[in-house]
Assembly symmetry: C3
Homo-oligomer: 529 residues x 3
């Protein structure tokens, strides 16, 4: 009898090499499996950036010069590649011998393996907060959620754009996250300067995510996507992002399917949440703005990458004094920082951040800001820098006060509050530090000290805006703005802010009517120390 042989194709079941190990395999032929994270055509080969559960590397496939290799392979497909590990132009690279598109069950298996490994890998460690805080404890699940979304973006080579309010609190929050993200990018391989082109921090001009900001972010992201085959970015907003004013930009982000997460301590409008992948906000759990963005950002940063804790642990204290928090957490974070910085040091650093950011305009000043925050390991330089900046800031403030204070007009309202009016357009230096809002704040602080027993309202107005500061007056600025908008047709009125601190905009030609209406409203609310 003749034996019957059945021939079966047996693929050698050697385990695929993880991308994280390629650095040790230069010169060898390996098999890898992963997801395509970028496809870039050159005039030579096609470059595929591959992500697996361990890291990110490039694979070069050549058919003919300038011709797209493996056109069937698309962004986010799962592929198996066999090729030699090479150094090309000082970069690690796989020279593709074969690239197979995995499909069906097999693709699912690899995708699941990568996805679940990524998911596990993205899960933040469960570490205690730097301080005791009920509010923070209640926020923990949402903070972990945001940290995980950010970690996953890093591990899957998705670019991150971090937008933040351009003041000391916003900077502390954003730089904490920046340190966590960039160190995580460096640890997880990929191109050697991926921490520069996959991460961008940008201070916003307005205290919200303006249409102009998202327009610029989208313009660049879409160009990078078209020209370099990059993924569309994750947007992270901090000390910013939780109010109705952010809505137009969030809707724009939704159309382009950009995920957005927010870490903020402004009073949130519920309507934004439908556009957010995560939203850490103390108001959601019974807290308030006293838990500053800098506190929240630092704790989220520790979840993203615990190894940077020592670098950033003093940030919340700076943020707390910068934003004048009077939450109990303020003192606890000051305690955490106290081995290196006193409360006065923190105030100086916060002032130095505000002052330097003014001169940086809307550049991030990455390295300068690190020195101000003393995280470059050069404490001597830090101290000299703070001394110089604080001196500069205080001289500018004194100069502004000597120009402005003599022009403040006083009037006692029927409710007993002392009202102070200053025209910051004609009785203050313009286009320099301190800007109108800070000028009004400084004037207000001095007037409060001069009138320790009276309720005080200070209005600093320009041609088409007014800034309000108050103490001991039961104002509800957002409601006053809404009412004035109704009562003064043709006033072009908008604005808002917190209950007792805020601003209002109007058309220049209606300034007198608007200020009159505003003062009338302030006159009738409760006031008393």
């Amino acid at each position: 009898t003749i034996p019957v042989y059945t021939v079966e194709m047996v693929e050698k079941k050697s385990t695929a090499v993880r991308l994280g190990e390629l650095g040790t395999k230069v010169g060898r032929t390996v098999r890898i499996e992963g997801e395509i994270a970028q496809i870039k055509q050159t005039s030579g080969p096609t470059i595929f950036t591959i992500v697996d559960e361990s890291g990110t590397e490039n694979a070069a496939a050549f058919v003919e010069a300038g011709v797209r290799a493996y056109p069937e392979a698309e962004l986010e497909d799962i592929v198996r590649i066999v090729g030699e590990v090479m150094m090309r132009n000082n970069q690690l690279q796989i020279e593709v011998d074969s690239l197979v598109l995995l499909a069906g069950e097999e693709a699912e298996r690899v995708r699941d393996r990568i996805e679940s490994a990524l998911d596990r890998r993205a899960e933040p460690e469960d570490i205690p907060f730097l301080v005791e805080s009920d509010v923070l404890e209640r926020l923990k699940p949402e903070m972990r959620k945001v940290a995980k979304i950010i970690r996953k973006a890093v591990f899957s080579a998705q670019p991150i754009i971090l937008r933040h309010h351009a003041d000391a609190d916003g900077i502390c929050s954003a730089v904490a996250i920046e340190q966590a993200v960039t160190s995580l990018i460096r640890e997880s391989g990929g191109d050697y300067d991926a921490d520069y082109f996959l991460f961008k921090r940008a201070p916003s001009k307005a205290p919200f995510y303006e249409i102009e900001d998202i327009t610029r972010d989208l313009d660049y992201a879409l160009k990078d996507h078209a020209r370099f085959g990059q993924k569309m970015p994750l947007i992270v907003l901090t000390d910013n992002g939780s109010t109705e004013e952010d809505l137009p930009s969030l809707k724009m982000a939704e159309i382009y399917e950009l995920p957005v997460v927010v870490v903020d301590h402004h009073h949130p409008d519920e309507i934004v949440d439908q556009y957010l992948g995560g939203h850490v906000n103390p108001y959601h759990v019974g807290g308030d703005f006293g838990i500053t963005a800098g506190m929240l950002g630092t704790e989220v940063a520790r979840m993203i990458n615990p190894s940077i804790e020592d670098v950033i642990r003093h940030f919340p204290a700076i943020a707390a004094v910068g934003d004048r928090s009077d939450a109990p957490e303020r003192g606890r974070y000051l305690q955490v920082a106290s081995d290196r910085f006193t409360e006065d040091d923190c105030k100086d650093i916060a002032l130095a951040l505000d002052y330097e950011q003014f001169w940086l305009r809307f550049n991030d000043g990455r390295e300068l800001v690190k020195d101000i925050l003393d995280i470059k390991g050069n404490n001597d330089r830090h101290r000299k820098l703070i001394t110089l900046l604080v001196e500069g800031a205080n001289m500018a403030i004194e100069d502004q006060m000597s120009a402005s204070m003599p022009h403040v007009r006083q009037q006692t309202l029927t409710n007993g509050a002392e009202l102070f009016l200053l025209d910051v357009e004609i009785h203050a230096h313009k286009f320099t530090f301190p800007p109108p809002g800070k000028t009004s704040g400084e004037v207000h602080d001095r007037l409060c000290r001069q009138h320790p027993d009276s309720p005080v309202v200070t209005i600093g107005f320009g041609p088409d805006f007014a800034v309000l500061r108050s103490r001991g007056v039961m104002m509800n600025i957002p409601r006053m703005v809404r009412e004035l908008r109704e009562e003064i047709p043709g006033g072009g009125i908008s604005g808002g802010g917190h209950l007792v601190v805020g601003s209002i905009k109007f058309v220049e030609g209606m300034r007198q009517e608007v200020l009159k209406g505003l003062i009338e409203k302030i006159s009738i609310v409760g006031a008393g120390m």
Copy 2:
């Protein structure tokens, strides 16, 4: 007898390889002939970019590190190169074994061959227009001339700078040409991202080619020429470029021998033509501004590269409604677009373009604009985007109107026209959408609807300018401006525009006199519906 041998140098007459075929010759030694289009010294070899009738490639010649190879070879010389075709750093490249400068008859023969092949290749196909139009038929020779100049620039690796008016009509015109040019660059070889560095589209701030614009364009072009050995660019102006106001910039372009072509529908001043290599303008053939720049640009784009017709065929309809054309071509182009877009769709797209361009400031927003024009193959995203942008634009317009309309002052002129005055500086929001010109236009439209039977003039003025809109009044704004300039010494008056729609500038201190004089002139011209 001894035979006499004459030794003759016989160069092997094998045909030179065309550059367009090099992609299939990697690893082989070839002979090529072409014109030097760029010479870039590196710290290693000298890189010559060579153009022939079929394409563009780089050749690397090495003598000593950082030393210029073949110093006798200069930009635009004709050379014969023998070398091996290699892949260097993911780029196709010829490694030069020998480079011979052709001279005299031989150079002429090659240059003629390349030049005449380029000339043939640059000749646009003779295709019918998308719609019937006598004006377009009469413009055809000039359109073909401009299309050919642009095609030749592409084939000879000359950079192109495309400047355009930053409104819907200008954007449609410019993006049509952009699509034609970039696809043609990609088809014709050269560096893999040549469609980025050899083509730049830039919206202009002013409705003409300002000195500031050409200064920036020249600054960059000269630096690229000096640093990277690039050719000086071809300037293409669209919806822009045909009036006296462009003269200073055109003179500057002439000094640097930059060729300039114009595709415009503004009333042309004859004096510009001496500076232009081509000028498509309906006024030259008895047409007028109803043949919009978007119509002209789209038809020129089809001549440049007919294969993109399907991508851009709806642009003229958008341009027509955007610029309020009432030429018969408007309806015909709307018909062309009607399989995909209704007239209302086109209006929405035009408004969305204006609104988005406002936020883009003077960035081109290449990819965003493509989505607005629905040429990225993602109609779902396009529809959502238009809905969001139109909603945003209309909300902003409503907001502006509610601030402005209550402040409009009315006065009936002696000629029966209703005059409306609005101070857009103090009775409108500034630095936001809609800007002063559009604000005045919206106000005017509403007033026209409110006074359907009267001639209407609307003047929106700021500190040192006024914008005029009118209906049923026989104004000649350019003449009024000239007369006022004479009559009001120290007024610093300039301006112009169309006959019945335009603007005037003056020094702030003379505003009252200028407005008074302007109104007097308007009062005495014929008016009636």
Copy 3:
């Protein structure tokens, strides 16, 4: 007896190859010694930039992909490297076989050798000035010092940032130094476009080194240092840098240990000198502003690199007429330039520089400016360009004068001086050429010609500033400003300038009081022709 052998390690004492010779050693293994000038980690090898007494080259060291090789080696360490000279990606490079950190005596020996060679090499040649000048002779030691600091920066691959006043004199001075430095960089090896990334020229907005300027310079320098391992730069200030107003920026530079040198002709405040590595200023040796920055810069440039003398020898003449010098050196430098340019030519070039710089805003316009200064070897283009720019400038000035002159108000002061007042905010075109300062100057010149026998003071004022020009009036503007600052509380007064030409700033709401006070002070000083 058995002989005893002592084994001694003998390192082969072959001489290390100088970096300047590497271009001829491609393919050979060499030994080099030098200082580490840059350390750049790639995803492949670590790139060390090495400097010795002869030049600058890169060395690539590989241990594992993306891992820092020889982590013990730091910036400014002295090392000995053995490796093969290669061409990598069109760049000369040493592939490191071994890198040894030299220490102790040996390092000192090499460092001393390099340092003393660098020191010798950096020493400027002793060449005579272009003209006879006692003041220049007395300045020679300081000029040599500054030239040496700049030469040493070039030879040790330290980036240079050159900031200058944005007028004709400042541009002449800065471009002279630019030509000297960039040609020296090109001669001394290193990366092929090092003359671009190691040198940056930037016109300053203000007539001093503003906080905003140094903030931007530092931001970029620190980022380049962090990302590309570049050295921190040398700052060179010209036509700028010698007054109290520069102090905040100089203090900032000191904190970052940025060396700063100044070449200026403004009246210096002694306090700045503690922050400067060198300061060339005619006031230090009994001269004055008549020795313009353009004269000083050109002479320093010749010391930096004598080979460019022919290129720049006409610059001082242009600077002299641009800044209206009446020093005896003016005529002598005009004589030097006279083989190519008449005095009128020089005036035209100076005006063209001012006009073009206005449109360049604060870009350097490197190549455009070279054409204006006629140093590109295209005299025909130069002449056409000057004609066009001068015509444009004069038309703009005429236009401004016809708007402004009718609004000038005249008043005869008690001291007999004629005072002329012009509101340049409401009676001049804004945001165009000529700007307010130049407008006031042109008005003053015309009024002086109209009143040839009277002392004349012209004040051009805006909302919060005034510009002063005078003839025949014994003003001391800095003192008047100091007094007004005392006398008008809440005036927000600052300013200064020269004795009889200057400006004053104030808050808008106090304009009337400040102008009144100013005019009173002018009325009582001596006046007469």
